[in-house]
């Protein structure tokens, strides 16, 4: 306890008198213990304004005025106009005038695309075709076309096989009308999208009709309009905006082919389709009028898959060319879409008629092949852009490969999903394709793109060196070193090595 006396001078220390403190009883006596308005407490406060007295505090306003922060004036540049950043992000540059012109560079053509001697060399895409390829959005922004003089692709084994198929379907009488159906898979950067691009280029060379869906995700990400198909089918949804976009892509890219074909079927649902008009005009009406886009697309598809004219329209009929359909990023079509139905439930991607149409082509046709005039379906999966849960697709693709290899679905070797795993039966159903009754129609295959061979890697690297981007002597030892570094010739990794910037030593 503290002594009440100062030990220095022995005077009594001043003690605070307890009476100074306000006694609780007096505070209570001012008013009732509980009050709803708190008016008395409010009045007991000293006024803040002093002499002025005019500034009356609001109820429960904090007594201490908040410090006003000084606003820093920062001069901000105006943000760029709307859409500019996205345009920069999506810009595709196909030429670098500084890169050296490669000597003796050959173009992709009818002869070179089947020439196995050219395997492993880079072939340039013909310049007039670039507009067509751009129209179908074959090039992707991050594929690195911008550092070369002109866009080139390597002729690898899979490309040659594809080229031979294209050649056969168009030229060979026996193989005319053949159909291949492939789901293109493979590791990251293994060249799946470029494989599709090569297929499109070959399609344009051979005068096929090319339908492409460059981003499958765009159809299910709920960024374009949708509506119920009709009163009878309230659970099916049509996407007119996306269909019109597909039609306009197709018209822009296949102008030459479509303008040579004429309407030779009856289309009661499409009043705009008059017998004798070119298919180009037909497709254009759909591209311009979104409301009728889906009907027009169906009419166009009916025309292109026709094997003969409707009665009375014989004079307009010419044989239809084969069709190439490519889809990139198939995984997004194998789950629920982001669209919602009227009950606020997610709509399954297979309930969108657009998606349903292109997936139904994978099944063998009933009366005639799904592409009666021949053609190819190349649907590529993606490894970088996938919906969160595509386990079912993984299993279904294994099943496709097993079925193709001749394993019976009843046998124990047939791949099955893990027990208790959550799977989507609709995915299994859509990818289950039994052998077709028609000889020309191939079975659904799962093609896995692996690494390129040493020779192809060497050709690819030589192309870099000749463009002046790689300043090394290309030798077998060097190539096989890089081949190994690129995970066994994964072509995207090889490209990364090829354009790696270093000053030697």
């Amino acid at each position: 306890m503290v002594s009440p006396f100062c030990w220095g001078c022995l005077t009594p220390l001043r003690q605070t008198s307890r009476t100074i403190l306000p006694s609780p009883s007096t505070a209570v006596s001012r008013g009732p213990a509980f009050h709803t308005s708190a008016a008395l407490q409010f009045m007991g406060r000293p006024s803040q304004g002093g002499k002025k007295g005019s500034t009356v505090l609001k109820f429960r306003q904090p007594a201490v005025a908040a410090m006003k922060k000084k606003k820093k004036f920062v001069e901000k540049a105006r943000p760029p106009p709307v859409g500019e950043r996205k345009a920069i992000r999506k810009r595709i540059v196909l030429s670098n005038p500084n890169a050296l012109e490669v000597e003796g560079l050959q173009e992709l053509s009818e002869e070179t695309m089947v020439d196995s001697r050219l395997r492993g060399t880079a072939l340039a895409l013909p310049v007039p075709m670039l507009d067509q390829l751009r129209a179908v959005q074959a090039f992707k922004p991050k594929q690195g076309w911008s550092i070369f003089r002109r866009p080139c692709t390597v002729l690898r084994r899979e490309t040659l096989e594809l080229g031979r198929f294209f050649d056969n379907v168009t030229g060979d009488v026996e193989r005319r009308g053949a159909v291949i159906k492939k789901i293109v898979g493979g590791a990251r950067k293994s060249g799946k999208s470029v494989h599709l691009l090569q297929a499109m280029a070959m399609g344009f060379i051979k005068k096929w009709v090319v339908f492409t869906i460059p981003e499958a995700q765009e159809l299910v990400s709920a960024t374009s309009s949708y509506a119920p198909l009709s009163e009878e089918n309230p659970n099916l949804y049509v996407q007119n905006e996306a269909t019109a976009a597909l039609l306009s892509r197709t018209v822009a890219a296949n102008k030459d082919v479509l303008s040579g074909l004429r309407v030779s079927q009856n289309h009661p649902t499409v009043p705009a389709a008059k017998p004798g008009m070119t298919l180009e005009d037909l497709a254009k009406t759909g591209a311009q009028d979104q409301a009728s886009a889906w009907a027009v697309f169906q009419a166009l598809w009916k025309e292109l898959t026709a094997t003969g004219p409707a009665p009375g329209l014989e004079k307009h009929y010419t044989p239809r060319p084969p069709i190439l359909v490519t889809v990139d990023g198939l995984g997004h079509w194998m789950t629920e879409s982001q669209y919602r139905n009227a009950q606020f439930k997610l709509i399954h991607a297979h309930d969108l008629v657009f998606v349903r149409h292109f997936l139904s082509l994978l099944k063998p046709g009933q009366d005639q092949p799904s592409l009666p005039n021949g053609g190819a379906l190349l649907y590529a999966t993606s490894t970088t852009n996938n919906p969160p849960y595509v386990y079912t697709l993984d299993v279904a693709l294994k099943q496709v490969a097993a079925r193709d290899a001749g394993v019976e679905p009843s046998s124990p070797q047939f791949p099955q999903p893990e027990p208790y795993s959550k799977t989507d039966p609709r995915v299994f159903e859509v990818l289950e394709s039994p052998k077709s009754k028609h000889a020309q129609e191939g079975r659904l295959q799962h093609q896995i793109l692996g690494g390129v061979t040493h020779d192809e890697a060497r050709g690819f690297m030589e192309y870099f060196a000749r463009s002046g981007l790689l300043q090394e002597t290309i030798s077998d030892g060097w190539v096989s070193e890089k081949w190994t570094l690129a995970g066994g010739g994964v072509i995207g990794e090889l490209e990364r090595i090829g354009k790696r910037l270093r000053v030697a030593a």
Partner: protein
């Protein structure tokens, strides 16, 4: 410019945002409204078809939003106060109503809760 429920919206804003500008419609209600009339979430007001605009307006006019909703909320508070419940008292005192601590962080209650509560 598009009129939804008598209000004018510029064409460049999202339908979702336009709906949420009404008192009483939040993210969930607006998303459900959009789904009911098959409008995708990134749709802009300018892209709406005439029928869709009419549908939305009809749906909104059936709902209890804006002033009706405000009046109802105020009535509810008033009822609480008049029946002498604790909640009503807290509303009138300008204190938090739902059992929060009052030692700190009651700015919102100070700002909003008062005898003649406004919305």
């Amino acid at each position: 410019m598009v009129y939804i429920l008598g209000l004018n919206f510029t064409e460049s804003i999202l339908v979702k945002k336009a709906l949420q500008s009404f008192f009483g419609i939040g993210t969930d209600t607006s998303a459900r409204l959009l789904a009911r009339y098959h409008i995708h979430p990134t749709c802009k007001v300018g892209e709406l078809a005439n029928k869709q605009v009419l549908d939305l307006t009809a749906a909104l006019s059936d709902m209890k939003i804006e002033n009706d909703l405000r009046r109802q909320v105020l009535d509810d508070i008033k009822r609480l106060r008049e029946t002498g419940t604790t909640r009503g008292r807290r509303h009138a005192l300008g204190l938090p109503v739902r059992g929060q601590r009052t030692r700190t962080q009651i700015k919102t209650a100070i700002k909003l809760n008062r005898v003649d509560r406004r919305l």
